[in-house]
Symmetry: C2
Subunit: 236 residues, 2 copies
C-alpha cells in the first residue's frame, strides 16, 4: 500500500478505503530536532498501545478524533485529515522550553494552564508563534484557533483526571489537529509519552521521552510504566 | 537630582515635582542585547528631537502619553509611570527577528499588521511571549493587553500616515506602556529611530538603528534625515 508520509516516529499508509489511513508506529526515537536518533526495540508497540488508550478515553468523553481502531501491535486505522501545521502545547507545570524562555525553574505548578502555538516546521526549529503570525502564515483561521484552544483545554481536563488517578503528573503535552473536507476539526496525530511529559506524582521521576533526551535510563521501562498505570485506570 | 534609572540609551531623574520626571537621552548606541556598544556624538540630541516630534503628533491625535515637554536639546519632562515590562512590537513589513522566526525574506508587506509581545528582560534576551505567558508572569492584565494592542494599532495608523507623507516606510516599531496610580495607561518611553525601523520609500535605504547594528554607514546621517523629513511634514 502506498506510503503517504513518513515522519520521525510514524508512517502513514493509504488503504483501499479513501476514508481510512493506516498509521504505523516506528521504533525510532529522535530528539533536539533530529540531532539525536536511535532505534529502540518495542517503542512503537508501546506508543501505539498508549495512544490508543488515550484516544479511546477522549472519544468516550466526546472529543472528536481521527482514531478508528487498533489493528495490530504497532498499527491503527485513522481518518485522513489536512493537518493544520500548528503544534498546540498545553502546560500545567513548568518544564523544557517554557522554563528556559521565562527563566523559571522546572516543576512549578502554573495557576492556569498555558496554551502555546508552535509553527510545525523542522527547518525553522518549530518556532513559537502568536495568532497574528498564524494569520500572516495563512495556516489557520481565527475561529479554528479558538476552537483548537478550547479543545486542547478540554483534552487537558480529561488527561489530568486520568493522570491523577494513575498517580502521574501531566506536566505538558503537544496536540495536532486536522481538518476534514467538510471543515470538521479532529484531534489527530498521537497522544503518547513521545508527546506528553509524565512525572511520577510522588518521586517526580520522568517517565516520558525526556528519559531519552537527557539519557536518564530505559525509555521502554518508563513507557511500560505509563502503559500499565493508564491501562489500570482505564480498565477499572 | 536623584537618578531613578539608567538604561542603555536614556537616564530618568526625579524632579522637585513627584508628578514629573526628567528623561535624558544619552549618546550611547547598543545592539545585540548589549554585545555591541559605542558612543555616537549627537545621537541623544537627534533621538530627543525626533521622539518629541512623534509624541506631539500622537498627543494631538488623542493618544495618551507620558510626554510633558522638551526642556533642552537632550532632555524632556515626562510623567512617572509603572512601566509594564512588555515590549509591544507592531510590524507592517517583514524584517529582523520576524523574518528569521518564520523564514521569510525581508521587505515583504504584511496584509495586516502583526502585533507581538516581548517580555522585557535583558538576561532572558527579551523572549517572545503570548497572553498566557503574560498572565503567568503576572505583569499585565488581560484588559491591559487588549488596550495595549488597540493603542499600538492606533499609534501605527498615525505613524504610517506621517511616514507616508515623509516618503518613509514604517517597517516596524516597539512601544512601552506605563500605568499611573489610578490605572490610566500611558504610552511611555520613546518613539525614535532607535525603536522604529524606517526605510526610504523609494530606495529602501535603512535610516534607523540597523545602520549601527549592521555597520551600514553613519547613524547620525540617517537620524538627521528622519528628523528633517518628519519635521518637514509636522511643521507643514
Ligand atoms: N489523521 C491524520 N491525517 C493526516 N496526517 C496525519 C494524521 N495524523 C497524523 N498525521 C501526520 O503524520 C505525521 C506523523 O508522523 P511523525 O513521525 O509524528 O511526524 P513528524 O516527524 O512530523 O513529527 C505528522 O506529520 C502528523 O502531522
Ligand atoms: N514615563 C516613564 N516612567 C517610568 N519609566 C519609564 C518611563 N518612560 C520610560 N521608562 C523606562 O526608562 C528606561 C529608559 O531607558 P532605556 O535606556 O531605553 O532603557 P533600556 O536599556 O531598559 O531600554 C526604560 O527601562 C523604560 O521602560
Ligand atoms: Mg510527530
Ligand atoms: Mg530602551
Amino acid at each position: 500500500m502506498t506510503l503517504l508520509y513518513e515522519g520521525k516516529a510514524k508512517q502513514l499508509f493509504m488503504t483501499d478505503d479513501d476514508k481510512v489511513l493506516r498509521l504505523v508506529y516506528k521504533n525510532d526515537a529522535t530528539a533536539f530536532n533530529g540531532e539525536k536518533h536511535d532505534v529502540l526495540q518495542g517503542k512503537g508497540e508501546l506508543n501505539n498501545a498508549i495512544s490508543v488508550l488515550f484516544f479511546e478515553v477522549l472519544e468516550a468523553e466526546g472529543v472528536q478524533t481521527h482514531f478508528i481502531k487498533k489493528i495490530s501491535d504497532t498499527e491503527q486505522l485513522v481518518r485522513p485529515t489536512r493537518i493544520i501545521p500548528i503544534e498546540v502545547v498545553v502546560r500545567n507545570i513548568t518544564a523544557g522550553s517554557l522554563a528556559r524562555r521565562l527563566g523559571w525553574e522546572e516543576g512549578k505548578s502554573l495557576p492556569e494552564p498555558i496554551v502555546e502555538w508552535y509553527y510545525k516546521d523542522d527547518a525553522l526549529g518549530d518556532p513559537l508563534v502568536n495568532d497574528d503570525h498564524i494569520a500572516a502564515l495563512g495556516v489557520a483561521k481565527t475561529e479554528e484557533l479558538e476552537e483548537m484552544r478550547m479543545r486542547a483545554l478540554h483534552v487537558n481536563k480529561i488527561l489530568l483526571d486520568l493522570c491523577h488517578k494513575a498517580n502521574l503528573l501531566l506536566v505538558d503535552f503537544k496536540l495536532e489537529f486536522g481538518v476534514l473536507e467538510d471543515g470538521t476539526l479532529l484531534l489527530a496525530d498521537e497522544v503518547s509519552p513521545d508527546t506528553c511529559r509524565f512525572w511520577d506524582a510522588k518521586t517526580k521521576e520522568k517517565l516520558d521521552k525526556d528519559i531519552y533526551r537527557y539519557g536518564l535510563g530505559s525509555l521502554q521501562a518508563g513507557y511500560e510504566n505509563i502503559l500499565s498505570r493508564i491501562g489500570g485506570v482505564v480498565h477499572d
